[in-house]
Amino acid sequence: MLKKVAYIIILILVFYSCKGPNNELNMPGYELASGDIQIPEEAMEDIIQNISSPIEMAALIKDLGLNFSDQYLSNLDLVDNYSSSFKMAYTLGMLGADLGYLNVYERTGSSVSYLAAINKLADGLKVSQFFDFNTIKRLATSNSNLDSLIFMSVHSFNEMDKHLQLTDRSNLSALMIAGVWIEGMFQVTQVSLSQKDPVLSEYIGEQKLILNNLLLILKNYERDDQFAAIIKDYEELKKSFSKVDITYEISDPEPVEQEDGMLMVVQQETSIISISDNVLSEIIEKTKTIRNKHQLL
């Protein structure tokens, strides 16, 4: 009898862990509004690959020699109250960008509370199997292997995103990516306030391309009120980005073999981003307003 019970439990556990996509959509507080998905799933995946990585913006900020500030990080106090998968996915993305920022600046001690919050959200979204909390926490607290910590953190986010797409939860994947983007944008724009840098201004200006891609994804779900609210805010930001000009100068790439035998290909074709100070200020202000508003959604 006991054996039978054990097998039944195993079966339940296995079925639970292999739970199909439709079941996973029925999560507390949020279901996808009915409506056709306009972009095929494969194209969605392609577009999502073109949105910011949770670490790239932070790496760029650090490369420019700019100082760390915890003022650019999200408030964790609200995380405990989130029960809808909509809010959890969006915040997971935001915290992913924060974790990238903390890791790049080697603030691994401070990152533990962010790791705990991420783990909680990942658990709520049933993707925590891709976030090895204990290993990542150990790497963060031991402060011994930063490369492994960054790898594990970024890889976990990539895998969580892939899993959301594979389990027909591209809506949540889109939200997560949007969260990474808006938080990264907030960090970069706030940094640019404290230190003017042409590279940073260009970087902000070229986010025009990324925002267009992001809106393409989000608009698939615009029949949902919560998505519609986010889209409306991003459209407002898009208005400011429409004043950014991006032009191209065409030329062939130049391969150069380096002393260590590695090949370096330097692109000669360049993009020229024209962004006035006024437009930059407008984008900085709108980004801050939207990011702060969305934290409290």
Partner: protein, 149 residues
């Protein structure tokens, strides 16, 4: 009889579940190994895990394609690692629309690279293409990293 079927099904499901977990862990380890091989100055951004069949009767080698956004003023590193059991040798190429920007294998000169730096000067969408030499079947991992200036 029912109990026996239940027993076998349970064990089968459990075995499949464990096998899946082991496979996922193995894949992560390989990705990490390949990302470490990209170099100490490179920060992992993305991976491309590729498994392709041999070319069909038309001799056209199957290809893995993935578009990705690269940004101006950033140096990226593309690296490729063949899996031990891979029959074919992987070649990673990057295209800007129809123009090839870089390749880990240049057949004319015979030069091969397991990693290549790319100094991006134009923000935009690029295409990563991975295939196997001579259209053999194979397994490989491509890594995109950020190289600190």
């Amino acid at each position: 009889m029912k109990a026996k079927i239940l027993k076998i099904s349970g064990l089968l499901f459990l075995a499949m579940f464990l096998l899946n977990n082991v496979k996922a862990q193995e894949e992560q380890d390989l990705v990490q190994k390949c990302s470490v091989a990209a170099g100490a100055d490179a920060t992992y951004l993305k991976d491309f895990v590729v498994k392709l069949d041999a070319a069909g009767t038309d001799n056209r080698p199957p290809m893995y394609r993935q578009s990705l956004a690269l940004r101006k003023n950033v140096t990226y590193r593309f690296s490729i690692c063949n899996m031990e059991e891979s029959e074919g040798e992987a070649v990673l190429r990057v295209y800007d629309q129809a123009n090839m920007i870089l390749s880990t294998w240049y057949p004319d000169s015979g030069k091969e690279f397991d990693k290549i730096n790319f100094k991006c000067m134009k923000s935009g969408v690029y295409m990563v293409v991975i295939s196997f030499k001579e259209g053999k079947k194979g397994e490989a991992i491509g890594i995109l990293s950020y190289v600190s200036n």
